[in-house]
């Protein structure tokens, strides 16, 4: 605390990559207390976030300890969830959660990126807010509303589609399930898709708008069609950010609780088709926590939470790695 600029030097270097550090070095004799305070404050806040995550993980471990001792890693491959026999395993819900999230993503990504491209490159500037606004409005709707809408409006439609699919393509194993239920993997995936479309669209649109105009105009000047300019210049330029948007959508899909509880069918059996009802991890925790009447039961539910935490972490690490690969060392937009 002698006020010399060196005091902030090396540790700042890791946080401040380029220009600000240089500014500090220029004013060798002037101590910029405001800057220093700001730096310390942001550092404290950043550490808070890290501490929070660590505490969360520790607390999950502590809560899940009894179940970990009882079931160990067999919990991850166990297929029985039986509160009466005090036997818990969560493989069907892990699979159910991931399958629903990925099918949801599969449905949502083309729609989201497509509409983001349209908003960014085709809609006149004055019209943009009018088209963007409903998308953002959709993002603000609480998930229980999606759930109720899904249960009362969407599920009957899904049921009709499923019955048709089974009647015509029932030989295909994915369509050979209890079509008449309506609730199940497909309904869960569709509701998730609807819920993550606004997020992916809004972020993708903002990223596409940052693509430098001259790049596209140059391409057009070279005789490319608008399609070629978008496909070959804009999308590759924005790919890292778009990927980040998709990962955010996936994160929401995996953690989504309420809506997917209402239309997922919530069975603890392994799924064999798109029509089978199946639980999700987050909704299982929310549904059973209040009435979990003994410690091992509560502990097992927290263990599910720990597994969910782990899965989210693995996915986000994979995403970081992919972003790093995509940007070939360049600083990722979503880092």
């Amino acid at each position: 605390m002698n006020g010399k600029p060196q005091a902030v030097g090396p540790s700042v270097g890791r946080f401040f990559t380029n220009p600000p550090a240089r500014v500090v070095h220029h004013d060798v004799h002037v101590i910029n207390w405001g800057d220093r305070l700001f730096y310390l404050a942001t550092r404290a806040l950043a550490i808070c976030v890290i501490v929070l995550v660590v505490l969360l993980a520790l607390d999950l471990f502590r809560g899940a300890w009894e179940a970990i001792g009882q079931f160990g890693l067999k919990f991850l491959v166990g297929t029985t969830w039986d509160p009466v026999a005090r036997q818990f395993g969560t493989l069907p819900t892990i699979i159910g959660t991931l399958v629903k999230a990925f099918i949801g993503l599969l449905l949502a990504v083309p729609i989201s990126i497509g509409s983001a491209v349209f908003i960014a490159f085709y809609v006149p500037k004055w019209l943009r807010p009018m088209i963007s606004y409903p998308v953002e409005l959709l993002a603000g709707i609480p998930s229980i509303v999606f759930g109720l809408w899904g249960l009362f409006v969407m599920v009957p439609v899904i049921r009709a589609v499923q019955i048709w699919l089974k009647a015509n393509f029932g030989w295909f194993f994915l369509f050979n399930g209890p079509a008449v239920y309506g609730v199940g993997v497909l309904a869960g995936s569709v509701i998730l898709a609807i819920m993550i479309i606004p997020i992916i669209t809004a972020i993708s649109r903002d990223i596409l708008l940052t693509v430098p105009r001259p790049q596209i105009e140059g391409m057009l000047a070279l005789g490319a069609t608008k399609w070629e300019a978008i496909w070959k210049v804009a999308l590759p330029y924005a790919r890292v950010g778009l990927f980040g948007a998709v990962i955010l959508g996936l994160g929401r899909a995996i953690g989504e609780t309420m809506a997917v509880t209402m239309v997922g069918g919530n069975s603890f059996d392994l799924i064999h088709s798109l029509f089978d009802p199946v639980h999700s991890m987050a909704s299982q925790i929310a549904s059973e926590f209040t009435e979990a009447t003994y410690n091992l039961y509560v502990s097992s539910l927290i263990y599910v939470g720990l597994v969910l935490f782990g899965i989210t972490m693995i996915i986000s690490l994979c995403a970081q790695f992919l972003i790093w690969r995509l940007s070939k060392g360049r600083v990722a937009v979503f880092e």
């Binding site: 249960l151 009362f152 209040t290 009435e291 009447t293």
Partner: protein
């Protein structure tokens, strides 16, 4: 101030002694607030009761309907003045209660309807026996035109339709009562599945809450499910007649629930599931909901307040049960509930005489 509240208390006491009810009074030891936590099933009734109690006695009761499991846990940790549950505490749970013996004081009873979705069949037309119901939920009977269902319902045109079994996916007292009933009437159910707030269902679809089950049953042709009677009534669900222990077929009703709760052989501690009651007019899928209170209290003023609240709930509070679709306590059940409230003690001295 003290004189005044004493005067009010004696006034109320005098008024009550003159009426039919014997002893209830407001707490006199200065407690103005109580906290409780637990079951969601009686929440509408409790919130009405507690609002009225606040008006009558100026004691605010904060009740958090976090579920029976949560209520039991908070009582065990002694973080609330009373708990509430739709199921009885088992031996292990009792042994983990830090404050010693827990009293189960019943406050009301509720019934559950078996609802179904069969085209052209009206409310109350379909008859079911306990063993058929258990076999449907065990997935041993898979089609509505099964011979056993047909033999029982010669005048009903049963379609060739797969049965879709719907159950609650969230842990609930409703599931506890329903699975307890199935365990009583079917040895196979007891061995394979058992009873709890959430069980390992043999099939098929789980719905969240009464609304989730009701909606799945309404939408899926051939579906069957169980929901609280009040919810079934309000949503015009098609329900079945169920054979009770005495052999009579009954539609679900509050009268049936009252009868189920009013039987001569109730145990003194009232820790009893009145499912499959032997009373001839009893509807079989019925259960109590209980207040959970420590028998040996540690704080004299709190003990006084809790005992008075419990007493009020099983007497004056009962008038709010029927309008809210709960079955009030009657006869033997009420007598035994009174005896339980009188077991609340402070320093080995009974709080309410």
């Amino acid at each position: 101030m003290k004189m005044k509240s004493f005067a009010i208390a004696t006034g109320i006491l005098g008024f009550l002694f003159s009426g039919t009810v014997t002893l209830a009074a407001c707490p006199t030891k200065g407690v103005k607030e109580l906290t409780g936590a637990g079951a969601t099933f009686p929440y509408p009734l409790y919130s009405k009761m507690f609002a009225e109690y606040d008006k009558a006695c100026g004691v605010r009761v904060n009740y958090q309907s976090i579920g029976s499991g949560g209520g039991i846990r908070q009582l065990q940790e002694m973080t609330v003045d009373f708990g509430a549950s739709d199921g009885t505490m088992d031996e292990r749970q009792k042994s983990e209660a830090k404050g010693g013996t827990v009293l189960h004081i019943p406050t009301a009873a509720g019934a559950e309807a078996i609802v179904f979705n069969l085209p052209g069949i009206q409310r109350g037309q379909l008859k079911l026996t306990p063993d058929i119901l258990a076999d449907i939920y065990l997935k041993k009977i898979n089609n509505w035109n099964d011979n056993r269902i047909k033999a029982l319902n010669p005048n009903v045109k049963l379609p060739d339709l797969t049965i879709a079994v719907v159950h609650r996916s969230d842990g609930s007292g409703t599931t506890y009562i329903f699975t307890h009933y199935l365990s009583k009437v079917s040895q196979e159910w007891k061995d394979k599945v058992g009873f709890a707030t959430s069980v390992n269902w043999p099939g098929d679809v789980g719905g969240k809450g009464n609304e989730g089950v009701a909606n799945s049953v309404k939408q899926i042709p051939g579906a069957i499910g169980y929901i609280e009677l009040a919810y079934a009534k309000q949503n015009n669900m098609t329900w079945a007649q169920l054979r009770n222990k005495a052999g009579k077929y009954l539609e679900p009703s509050l009268d049936g629930a009252v009868s189920a709760a009013d039987q001569p052989n109730l145990p003194e501690n009232m820790e009893v599931m009145v499912t499959d009651s032997s009373n001839p007019t009893a509807y079989p899928i019925t259960g109590f909901t209980w207040l959970l209170v420590y028998a040996n209290q540690t704080n004299e003023a709190k003990a006084d307040a809790v005992a008075n609240l419990a007493w009020w709930m099983i007497h004056e509070g009962q008038q709010y049960a029927l309008p809210l679709e709960y079955a009030p306590l009657k006869g033997a059940a009420l007598k035994k509930a009174e005896a339980l409230v009188k077991q609340i003690k402070i320093n080995n001295r009974v709080v309410l005489k």
